[in-house]
């Protein structure tokens, strides 16, 4: 047992279990960054809970030396909700994937977010079903050929950040598995957020969907395909930082800086905007037409579910006094038999 007054190191968050993801899987990087982030933010192992559903990503809790619960398919957010309501003092992370969180667990995904209960949901999006060996997922692109779609997928994909914004998520961000610096920054922001924090991680499944996010992860090309969001800053991207995003009517457009266009013409990122309009617009910017935004789309302060619930309990207790069983039993119309 580590004493709490000694700062913990990333390795202190490693459990004694052998990690069983495929060699080269993007999950390894997310696990490492999470362990680093928890150490950096001074998390306490005994007050931290990781809850997951089913899928490759959902093995994550076994590898963390915190409390953990490996649930059933799609239901991680619901289990985590119970944990948080029972003990609001705990820090609760939900680890899920695109199949787990958006397909079988889609209902819980939206309802958990709309409640703004203080859970940190990290969704590993690899656009494929890995654990069941290669079927298309709800985030797979139209036309994708997989074992269950040999003639190409005919489903329109779901865009998790857009969905989260649709239910008024108070914190939403995106990062890429191999972009360590950005992931650490995003996870730290999520850790600090009070309310539901949703983080989409582009994660490479090197067995069933290799290089799905190469445009955003390949060092040679990513600067032209990724837009790092910074609050209060103009939206500039490109290896030479010579491109930007400008609003044309209600549509964003990519513009080259210099030829009569300056930074003043560009969209300024505002993660604290009360309306989710800008964040939604960003969520619609997709490769190859646009650089895909990374970082924090939206971060708002709002009352959390568990805080309001506990307030109601305190208020009821203040008004009626701490519950007395005999008073409860004997309430209403009663009569005596002698």
């Amino acid at each position: 047992m580590s004493a709490i007054d000694t700062p913990l190191k990333p390795k202190d968050f490693k459990s004694d279990q052998e990690v069983r993801w495929c060699p080269g899987c993007g999950d390894y990087s997310i696990l490492s960054q999470m362990q680093k982030v928890l150490a950096d933010v001074g998390a306490e192992k005994h007050n931290t809970v990781f809850v997951s559903g089913i899928g490759c990503s959902s093995r994550f809790p076994y590898y963390m030396d915190t409390y953990g619960f490996h649930g059933i398919h799609g239901r991680a957010a619901s289990i985590a909700t119970g944990v948080k309501i029972a003990n609001p003092d705990l820090t609760v992370w939900v680890i899920t994937g695109d199949g787990d969180g958006l397909s079988i667990g889609g209902n819980h995904f939206i309802h958990t977010i709309r409640r703004n209960i203080d859970l940190k949901i990290v969704l590993f999006n690899n656009r494929i079903y890995g654990l069941t060996k290669g079927q298309y997922s709800p985030t797979s692109e139209v036309g994708k050929k997989t074992r269950s779609t040999p003639f190409g997928s005919i489903d329109n994909p779901i865009h998790p950040i857009a969905v989260a914004l649709g239910v008024e998520v108070t914190f939403v961000a995106r990062c890429v598995d191999v972009d360590v610096k950005n992931m650490i920054s995003v996870l730290k922001r999520a850790a600090a957020h009070k309310g539901t924090a949703f983080v989409e991680v582009y994660q490479n499944c090197n067995v069933y969907n290799h290089m799905a996010f190469a445009y955003a992860s390949d060092k040679k090309t990513k600067d032209d395909h990724v837009l790092y969001l910074e609050h209060g800053k103009p939206m500039i991207f490109g290896k030479e930082r010579d491109k930007g995003i400008r609003l044309n009517g209600t549509m964003p457009e990519v513009v080259d800086l210099g030829s009569g266009i300056s930074q003043d013409d560009l969209l300024i990122h505002d993660e604290k905007a009360a309306e989710p309009t800008l964040a939604y617009l960003l969520s619609r910017m997709r490769y190859p037409d646009f650089p895909e935004p990374m970082g924090v789309f939206r971060a708002l302060e709002a009352p959390t579910y568990e805080a309001v619930l506990m307030n109601q309990i305190e208020e009821a207790t203040r008004q009626k006094g701490k519950g007395n069983l005999n008073e409860l039993f004997g309430a209403g119309d009663t009569w005596e038999v002698n």
């Binding site: 709490i4 459990s15 005994h46 619960f69 619901s78 029972a86 309802h111 069983l325 009569w335 038999v337």
Partner: protein
């Protein structure tokens, strides 16, 4: 059934009409869903309970909130059996039927006893209303009802007249009809008005005109009984000789809620109740959400699965964690119940059973989820199952279920049903100080802690997040014995399945011996479980009084069963299993004990009548009365 006692007739107060003392009566209010029959019935119940009768009620309402007015589909009813002796059911045949329209009359007349009182709101027997009820002509004009004592009262007209001075709209005035009908019933059975008057004033405190109108309608109905020339007699049901104590009328759902709050308090824990609205279980959620000052944390989940999973999370984190549902919701929860079982977290699932399969008969009662409780999950997944036997019994059943859940670290299923969940009876209010504490010892020693090490009961430790040094991981993958690490070893899997099954069997050490009502051996043992207790026990008592060698075994615990259950079954020549399904307990008993039995199976969405069970008992015994 009502019978005239030797006390004969007497007069009461200023009333000029003779009062006949009878032992018990069964009154049923029937009308449209919008007629307020449930309210009239509830008020009659409360008044009778406060007066000191033993009571049993049976609310019977349609699944539609407001089916088209005047149709058979929209008929809603509330039956009360109130008695001066110990009763166990809402009764078979009705002594007085209060029918607010032709459809209500048509749907209920078959249940009125010969010679019974039929009170109809004659104003509603218009040609269109008769047509809606599929009457070709007015049955009140025929001789079809000669065997009843028929009282045609213009309830609508009288109500309008009574409330005229309040200035209420026609629509609002019309809604007072139920109080007029209630007033008539109160007069007829010599009930005091005070309890209902107090209720009206409290309920409608913010709308004085409505309070006044309901008061006027109630009194008008009462005075009509007194002054009109049509009633020649009224009745009085003396107080029942219940066990001494303070009483209150409770539905099964209310009793369940109070039991859960008590259990959490006895355990010194917050109560977490995660649930999704479903008939007939929702009232548990409604009741619990009122009592936040007991640290009750209710969570209305987005669906049944989320409700069950939230319970698992709350149990893991150390709360007394409970969900309530009915058949269809139970089916949705089953995968998650399997997760609770393999992770061995303590929690309670309440199933207020209703008519199935699928959506079935949402507002009607049935006992067809026994198999679903016992064997309804994938894999080898036994969980303890018990069933409450009456509305008030739900209180102690809830506490007992929690006690077992936390001691054995297991999900427990508590079965109730629509009949006892919504029906009510007097509950002798316990003293909280007499309720035994629920002792919980959480794991706290990081040096020796192993997540899957077992104690003498066969339970693993309950180590809750927030405890220093006890970080561990639970999950639905098979776990290695003792360490709880993920383990696919074949022998370990068999070992763990056996350990979990043995643990559930160990519950039998805590539940005592099975009781037999009557002689310990004989010609016939009638077996039953759950909410049918009252009807079956009453029927067995009747057969015993006739000299039959018949006894009654009512199972509270279905999994595991008390250790002496098999021995009891072997001491009787014949076994008759009575249940509101097609033979689910019968099948289980046959499987466990290799016995042959006969069954009485009723699946009509209605509770058993005493008479039909008695008839079956006599038939199984050869049809002859000793």
């Amino acid at each position: 059934m009502s019978t005239v006692t030797s006390e004969g007739t007497q007069t009461h107060g200023e009333s000029a009409k003779p009062i006949e003392a009878i032992e018990s009566a069964i009154v049923r209010f029937v009308g449209d869903s919008g007629d307020g029959m449930q309210l009239a019935g509830t008020q009659f119940t409360t008044t009778s309970a406060v007066f000191g009768n033993d009571i049993a009620t049976f609310p019977d309402y349609p699944a539609e909130i407001r089916a088209p007015a005047g149709t058979l589909a929209g008929v809603s009813g509330f039956q009360i059996n109130f008695s001066s002796r110990d009763i166990h059911t809402p009764g078979d045949k009705v002594s007085a039927l209060m029918a607010m329209n032709p459809a209500a009359l048509k749907a209920n007349i078959a249940d009125l006893e010969d010679g019974g009182l039929l009170i109809v709101n004659v104003d509603e027997f218009s040609v269109p209303n008769l047509k809606r009820a599929h009457y070709e002509s007015n049955p009140l004009d025929s001789d079809a009802f000669d065997r009843y004592r028929v009282y045609k009262i213009p309830i609508t007209k009288h109500t309008f007249e009574a409330v005229k001075e309040t200035g209420l709209s026609t629509k609002d005035a019309s809604r007072c009809k139920n109080f007029y009908a209630l007033g008539v019933a109160f007069w007829l059975y010599d009930r005091p008005l005070e309890t209902t008057l107090a209720w009206i004033n409290q309920k409608f405190a913010k709308v004085p005109a409505v309070a006044q109108a309901n008061t006027l309608a109630l009194k008008a109905g009462y005075h009509f009984g007194e002054t009109a020339e049509i009633f020649t007699v009224r009745y009085r049901i003396p107080r029942a000789k219940l066990a001494p104590g303070k009483y209150r009328n409770l539905t099964g759902n209310q009793a369940t809620a109070l039991g859960l709050i008590a259990a959490a308090r006895l355990a010194g824990k917050p109560l977490f109740y995660g649930s999704y609205p479903i008939t007939p279980a929702s009232d548990i959620l409604h009741e619990l959400s009122l009592h936040k000052n007991f640290d009750v944390r209710t969570f209305q989940a987005e669906d049944e699965i989320a409700a069950m999973c939230s319970v698992i999370g709350a149990a893991y984190a150390g709360a007394i964690a409970v969900t309530g549902t009915s058949g269809p919701g139970m089916a949705l929860k089953q995968e998650a119940i399997g997760l609770a079982m393999i992770t061995e977290v303590p929690c309670l699932i309440i199933n207020a059973q209703r008519g199935g399969p699928s959506t079935g008969l949402p507002t009607k009662t049935e006992q067809a989820d026994l198999w679903q409780a016992i064997i309804g999950r994938n894999g080898e997944c036994p969980v303890p199952v018990l069933a409450a036997r009456s509305a008030s019994d739900c209180f102690s059943a809830a506490i007992e279920a929690i006690r077992v859940a936390v001691k054995y670290m297991t999900p427990v299923i508590l079965l109730s049903d629509g009949f006892i969940a919504s029906g009510s009876e007097p509950w002798r209010i316990p003293d909280a100080a007499d309720l035994e504490k629920i002792e919980i010892k959480h794991a706290d020693d990081a040096e020796t802690f192993q997540p899957y090490e077992r104690n003498a009961a066969g339970s693993r430790p309950w180590a809750i997040p927030g405890t220093l040094g006890l970080q561990h991981r639970l999950g639905g993958l098979e776990k290695a014995d003792v360490t709880g690490d993920v383990c696919y070893d074949p022998d370990n899997h068999q070992h763990m399945i056996e350990l979990r099954a043995r643990k559930v069997q160990n519950v039998a050490n805590d539940i005592g011996d099975q009781e037999v009502f009557g002689e310990p051996s004989g010609d016939l043992l009638v077996a039953s479980w759950g909410g049918t207790f009252g009807a079956v026990w009453s029927a067995v008592q009747r057969a015993q009084a006739e000299g039959h060698k018949v006894s009654h075994m009512h199972l509270r615990w279905l999994l595991p069963m008390p250790k002496n259950t098999g021995a009891i079954l072997k001491r009787f020549k014949k076994i008759l299993v009575c249940e509101l399904n097609m033979g689910q307990l019968q099948f289980v008993l046959g499987g466990h004990f290799a016995i042959e039995s006969e069954g009485l199976h009723k699946v009509q969405g209605r509770p058993f009548m005493i008479g039909e069970i008695h008839e079956k008992i006599v038939q199984v015994l050869g049809g002859q009365t000793p």
